[in-house]
């Protein structure tokens, strides 16, 4: 079975972005960019499934700018076998990304698509579900554990009150949550090896799918700042403040 892992290049999770002065978006120029953390977990899970003998090949794909090949190399340094860069300079919405991914799925015919549950830039948490719907495949979102057997995948899902387990017929789409695994670090020899692994580049426009946006960004603003609070000496003072000043208890 082949596993396709869609990945996204995002502003590093440790970097706090600033809103552009003209309110048109956020400043990302010159900021450290990384493989989206949830996608890193998805890459790791796919590699583990290959190591267990469940999968035979792990293919990573990203839809993005030329520079996004760095995260494809990172994924291959972790252990992915090959990569596809679908090149576009436009910022695509999840619906458009799902359309592009569907074209790649039809080309690659994977038995499983494993991807992060959300990208930490637009925080949409939607691409996996939209892709599954468009493919007519079942979905296992917010996965914290997966087991593949007899043409099905059993997915433990993080839900509001605890954990739910579903069994999906393959092919399926699984979206990774934080507790699915702890991704490995790429060793130096593996980083060197990854440079020689195949990376194919396609033009997004050549896929012949609808990449249009349905949302117009009217403005982007800073959230309201909280005002600086005060430090107190002990618990008794705190309780006093909460009762008389904040009037919250």
């Amino acid at each position: 079975m082949k596993i396709l892992v869609p990945v996204k290049r995002v502003v590093d999770y440790n970097v706090k972005v600033r809103v552009a002065a003209d309110g048109s978006g956020v400043e990302t120029q010159g900021l450290k960019m990384s493989l989206n953390p949830f996608d890193e977990i998805a890459v790791e899970e796919a590699i583990r499934l290959r190591e267990k003998g469940v999968a035979t090949e792990v293919v990573v794909v990203t839809i993005g700018v030329q520079a996004a090949q760095d995260i494809l190399r990172t994924s291959m340094a972790m252990g992915a076998d090959r990569a596809i860069l679908v090149k576009t300079d436009d910022t695509l919405e999840p619906r458009a990304v799902a359309n592009a991914l569907k074209a790649i799925v039809e080309r690659e015919q994977p038995g499983l698509v494993c991807m992060g549950k959300q990208a930490i830039d637009d925080d949409m948490n939607a691409t996996g579900q939209i892709l599954a719907a468009k493919l007519g495949w079942p979905q296992g979102t917010f996965a914290s554990a997966v087991t593949v057997a007899d043409g099905r995948i059993e997915v433990s899902r993080e839900i509001d009150g605890g954990t739910e387990v579903v069994s999906l017929a393959l092919p399926a789409v699984v979206t990774a949550d934080l507790r699915l695994n702890e991704p490995r670090y790429a060793s130096l020899p593996n980083i060197m090896k990854a440079r020689k692994k195949p990376l194919e580049t396609l033009e997004a426009a050549d896929l012949g799918v609808d990449l249009a946006s349905r949302l117009t960004v009217v403005s982007v603003a800073e959230p309201a700042e909280r005002k600086e609070g005060i430090k107190l000496g002990n618990a008794a003072e705190l309780v006093e403040k909460l009762k008389t000043e904040a009037k919250v208890i």
Partner: protein, 301 residues
Amino acid sequence: MTALVLLEVENGEVRQASRSALTAAARFGDVDAIVFGEGASAAAALPGVKRVLSVPGLATDLAEPAADLLASIAKDYSHIVASASASGKNILPRLAGLLDVQPIPDVVEIKDAETFVRPIYAGNALATVRSSDAIKILTVRGSSFDPAPKDGGSAPVETLDAPVSEKSVFVKVELSASDRPELEAARVVISGGKGMKDAANFKLLEPIADKLNAAIGASRSAVDSGFAPNEMQVGQTGKIVAPELYIAVGLSGAIQHLAGMKDSRVIVAINTDPEAPIFRVADYGIVGDLFEVLPALEKAL
């Protein structure tokens, strides 16, 4: 215009976050409600619901049959709304995929019928977006809309047949039993972080939670370290809370944690590190060892 709101019913009651979604949906006009599984009567009692669509055959809220059913009735609606819960985020984007719509998740403000505000970058920016889709599909943050009252209405109930699901089968669910209020609905939340040191120490939060009728939360690193179960995680990818009082104990205040609680009305931080980012959003801070402060706090309450 008529909106359709997806309501989640738990133990015979419509969840608070769903009642907030109803408030949001009512901004668009008349509201029909849909309930998967049992609980249509609780939905019918909500004031502002015009009609309840009950699907008792879909007790497990699997996304595949739920989205199929919603897609089959979607053309009657201008907006389809759910709370930004695990269930809402599972089902609604799939529905959007079936209808070729771009969904709008985590809405915190409705400007007009097609313009919405939503946080991006872990809440470090607020984007106002306008949708050109004929049907708007959105999930809304419970903390941003007042919950509709529980009773006063008497809407008629219509029963719909559940589509069959073969590709996706429910196996089991494990819910953690707790007498405490739900995290998203609690008036007071007390959360522990990595500084709690181990799972057993989370018990130190309980007597204080008891006194304040608080829900107990956890930071991502506390959950990752196995101190607390995943459903307790507050943050960008966990629960988003905005209680009257949020007490952060032994947690540093990483960006992704602040994203889940910084809209709380009053924030208290207890941490040994005076430079911890949590103090920058806290109204009241105590720099000190939580193992000394917590017992003292319990006594002072």
